[in-house]
Point group: C2
Chain length 312, copies 2
């Protein structure tokens, strides 16, 4: 990493985003697999690419790469391959969850980032299968059979990602969300839902980078605290923006959660207390970085600021 | 394994099935995870258990355990844990695919094995999430963090299973199936669809057992040939039974594929040639077992016979 005086978050993000976009473009593919003699069917891959290559913020891959950079490892090729694969894998899990979330039986959204959602464009069956295949592809990316990622690292990465995606993580949070519409959640119950629904995958994004960077146990714990803090902060800020931002800035319908009678931080704590909570979590994230004892946490610090101070 | 004179496939299957059923019952659970402080939401787990613990034939787990047994390893605890986890993981992938397949946007089936399908009982959103969580749980099972399965083995198992489940495997085959209704497939195209849709996971079932049993490369290749042969035979026999068996024996509507204008082996090759093909594949499976040089392949041989000679 460059000296602090030359370093900028924007510059750091630009180089990392370019790598992630190029890798996703290359890895979500219908190119034949030499060992099989065939590739994925192009109709399926078209829907998968539509879901993934559509200009998301890529916050999760950036967190993975920032955690890896903070560990300043010796930058062996194998580690760099591992972290790029991990960064893309977590984005594929995020992308699949959006595809399934948008389906008629879930949120029934017809637009995402100004484009028709996957089931509108490819049909419900196409969206269902594209989501299913994206989840599998995440684990395929983590387990290359070319020796580029040590097998033991593959095992650890799959362990972290599957738990964050599954019934005690993201899918579990969505199930709680589904059963909580129209009910009164108190703050601990709301927090628990978000810890699973969005927090688990954001937390895992940091942990995947830490695994690739071979963090020691104490550093792993400090980065885990950082991941929990920004995971929750992300959702609190989302709820605040749902009330304070306009639809154009958000790129989605503002006020939708309140209209749908979904419990939010703002509806439970009020706007001001929610904003205070977001800032408290930001302070906590920075404190965790300090506690890690790592010298070079500028990217992680910058991403934490970005999560809390974003306008959309 | 017992001497050949005392050994019976039924006896072997009974002990293995008991282990698989007990393990699935224990591992598809809402019990709190100590490291997290919470468990999966019970509404979600109820749907997952309904999908999994409903008395399937468990052919895939049996193949995994039979391949492991054929390698006659030293039966260390760690390997036995690995093979049981792998056997259950492949069954979870199979179970999730049935849940999503039955949904209204796919096959729109309301009954499976005489019971209401998951979306009928738990709603479409509940079925979608249960399937998603079952896929993740498969990879969670393969990656225990208690040291019971070596990390390198975890990595290999996740690699095999994710490729079999994904866009060049099961999900890819379903996408081809979806786009082939009402079209004329020739035999190579039909074969390709089934190699992905059902063959890939059956093949992977064998490979997972081979990985747990630390098969050498030549043995791996022979078992791979066996897996391909029975994977295809399974589907050919399915198509034959769709025509020759009655609905009561099948536990599902006979003649359904033909009625839906789905291409089948029988519709392309005719009944007699399909039955010959199934027998040729059985001969090929047995030849592969012989080529493996393994001494004790009775369970794999018995399962191959069962696949081809079954009546439902």
């Amino acid at each position: 990493m460059m000296a602090a005086s030359e370093w900028s978050l924007d510059g750091w993000m630009t180089t990392r985003l370019a790598r992630v976009e190029a890798a996703l473009d290359a890895w979500v593919t219908d190119a034949p697999v030499p060992t099989l003699g065939w590739g994925a069917p192009s109709t399926l891959v078209e829907a998968m690419r539509y879901a993934v290559l559509d200009g998301g913020k890529r916050l999760r891959p950036l967190l993975t790469m920032a955690a890896f950079d903070a560990l300043s490892p010796s930058r062996e090729t194998s580690s760099e391959t591992a972290v790029l694969r991990a960064a893309c894998a977590v984005e594929l899990i995020h992308a699949y969850s959006l595809v399934h979330d948008d389906m008629p039986c879930m949120d029934n959204d017809i637009l995402r980032r100004g484009k028709p959602t996957v089931h509108v464009k490819f049909g419900e069956a196409g969206a269902l299968l594209a989501g299913d295949a994206l989840q599998a592809l995440a684990f395929e990316l983590l387990t290359p059979d070319d020796g580029s990622v040590p097998l033991a690292v593959q095992g650890r990465l799959c362990g972290v990602l599957s738990r964050a995606a599954g019934s005690t993580g993201m899918a579990g949070g969505q199930a709680i969300d589904l059963s909580s519409v129209g009910t009164r959640l108190d703050e601990p119950a709301l927090r628990h839902m978000h810890e699973l629904k969005t927090g688990a995958l954001l937390h895992a994004s940091v942990m995947l980078g830490a695994v690739c960077g071979q963090a020691t146990d104490p550093v792993m714990r400090a980065l885990s605290d950082y991941g929990h803090a920004i995971g929750l902060a992300f959702q609190v800020v989302d709820d605040v923006l749902d009330v304070t931002a306009d639809s154009a800035a958000l790129g989605k319908t503002a006020g939708k959660d309140a209209d749908n009678d979904k419990p939010t931080y703002v509806s439970i704590l009020g706007l001001e207390a929610s904003q205070r909570l977001a800032n408290d979590l930001l302070v906590k994230a920075h404190a965790s970085l300090k506690a890690s004892g790592l010298a070079d946490t500028v990217a992680l610090a910058g991403l934490a600021n970005l999560v809390v101070q974003r306008s959309h």
